[in-house]
């Protein structure tokens, strides 16, 4: 942290716009919220004084988990907003209706987490979906399946870190809806693939869990903002 703080201090001299973030960090430190998310600016000073490679860490403990969830929900929401705004060719009315439902669920998750986290929320993340062909049904469904299955495994893999039963239950309320989405999308791609052996193991019939260190590389492809979860296990 010392190193990062030094970098922060260097940056703040150059970047007046960062004042708000620094003030927020000071507030959090004063409040003792050592575990809360802090926009960690790991940038190096460049010749042109622009900030590059800034990384946002989600923080630790319950707030870290919720910010991690907030990051994933931001990504999912942005994806489905685009799916609905520019439907793939041949999208039926029923499919558009379903994608509009899913979009609203993900936007709700995002807006809820943002409201609940308040000043502890990480900033809005930049997204880049240039690798997805939104005109292709197959491409959109494949991406959606990836987002949903990854989301389920991410919640499942990090929930045990939470110490507050209210927050744990909230995560549970969201993850089963993500699992419903995943099953729905999978059945759209291939009949009866809602819980096939690529996601549910055949011995114990358990869904996948992934650590943040496994999830973040998967989603990094779609983010222009670098995020880390260095304080989550």
């Amino acid at each position: 942290m010392e190193t990062l703080e030094k970098k922060d201090e260097q940056l703040i001299e150059d970047q007046g716009a960062l004042n708000a973030k620094m003030q927020r960090r000071s507030f959090l430190r004063f409040a003792g919220a050592g575990a809360a998310a802090v926009g960690v600016l790991a940038a190096c000073k460049k010749h042109d004084d622009t900030v590059t490679n800034s990384t946002i860490d989600v923080g630790s403990g319950d707030i870290g988990v919720l910010n991690y969830a907030y990051a994933l929900e931001q990504l999912e929401a942005a994806f489905y907003i685009k799916v609905v705004a520019s439907p793939y060719s041949g999208m039926t009315a029923a499919e558009l209706s379903a994608f509009t439902d899913i979009r609203d669920h993900e936007v709700l998750h995002r807006e809820f987490l943002k409201a609940a986290l308040g000043t502890s929320a990480i900033p809005a993340l930049g997204v880049n979906f240039s690798s997805i062909d939104f005109t292709s049904k197959a491409a959109v469904l494949a991406a959606a399946k990836g987002f949903e299955d990854t989301g389920v495994s991410a919640y499942n893999g990090v929930a045990y870190v939470m110490t507050n039963p209210t927050y744990l239950t909230l995560a549970g309320k969201i993850v089963s809806v993500e699992a419903r989405h995943a099953a729905f999308i999978r059945d759209m791609i291939t009949a009866n693939s809602f819980a096939d052996s690529t996601v549910v193991d055949t011995t114990n019939a358990l869904d996948k869990s992934r650590k943040p260190s496994e999830v973040l590389p998967i989603v990094a492809v779609y983010l222009t903002t670098s995020i880390s979860a260095s304080k989550l296990p």
Binding site: A31, L108, A116, A159, G172, V177, N192
Partner: protein, 282 residues
């Protein structure tokens, strides 16, 4: 209101306050970092419910009790689908692979929970009448297996899966912080949600219209299982009234349907038990 000073004051009169908030905290301290005490209080969530849970809950940490409850529900589901698959002419050929997969999952969940519980596992023959269930729930449902009534079977399957999701969700706080057990329970929880979504899809395709996600309270079209969906129409999450939020995409408030669909609700042990005892769960 200063949350931090409230917590501090409470800690003066109750040194174990933080342990009440988080009974597993000591066990997982190394995993969660030093700041969890304050972090958990730093959000503007419903503090009232936090305090209620901290002082009102007595079964937190009863891992075997929680797992045996799950096992009893899995016994019920496994027997239900095993019976369905063995009932020739009930399930159309096109849907049979899905129910074979679901049955294999429920049987695997039974084996898994029994292996975790070891000698503490409840024995299946203690359930129902020597292990045989009453699929009519004490005569409140038609005998859909005898009459090969697929539509009614699907409604019961729909309700079993959604209720299973709710039951696992409701038990999660009792095994909070337990990396192995909680994670396994959540890995089962999301599988049940996948099942629920698929069965809802079968029902939607055959004329009735539940979405893959639960809209409002009891969207199954069958009033007899309304209690299984009690509270699913909740629009307030963690102290945030979702009906007041604006959807940035539309510029308008979210619809009540979307709000209730976006969050699945838990059921407590006390809420689940009366839903499954008519079938023979004890």
């Amino acid at each position: 209101m200063n949350i931090f000073s409230i917590i501090e004051e409470l800690e003066k009169v109750d040194p174990e306050l933080n342990e009440r908030f988080s009974p597993r905290r000591e066990a997982i301290k190394n995993l969660t970092g030093y700041g969890s005490k304050i972090a958990m209080a730093a959000l503007p969530f419903a503090l009232g419910s936090l305090f209620n849970k901290a002082y009102g809950q007595t079964t937190v940490g009863d891992v075997n009790g929680t797992l045996n409850f799950a096992l009893k529900l899995e016994y019920l589901e496994a027997a239900f689908y095993n019976t369905a698959i063995a009932t020739t002419g009930l399930i159309p050929a096109a849907d049979l692979p899905a129910f074979q997969l679901i049955a294999s999952h429920e049987n695997a969940h039974v084996s898994f929970l029994k292996s975790v519980l070891g000698s503490a596992a409840v024995v299946q023959t203690t359930q129902g009448t020597n292990g045989t269930y009453d699929w009519t729930a004490g005569g409140t449902l038609p005998n859909y297996f005898a009459t090969k009534d697929y539509a009614t079977f699907l409604i019961v399957a729909n309700a079993f899966e959604d209720t299973g999701v709710r039951a696992y969700k409701g038990q999660a706080p009792n095994i909070i912080g337990n990396q192995v057990v909680l994670t396994a329970a959540l890995n089962i929880h999301s599988v049940e949600a996948r099942h629920a979504a698929h069965i809802r899809g079968i029902r939607r395709a055959s004329g009735t219209s539940p979405k893959a996600w639960i809209t409002g309270a009891n969207d199954t079209g069958f009033a007899g299982i309304a209690a299984n969906y009690a509270g699913e129409d909740n629009t307030n999450q963690g102290g945030v009234d979702l009906t007041t939020l604006i959807n940035p995409v539309t510029g308008a408030k979210f619809t009540t349907n979307a709000i209730t669909e976006a969050f699945d609700e838990p059921l407590t042990y006390a809420q689940v038990l009366p839903l499954v005892t008519p079938f023979g769960v004890k």
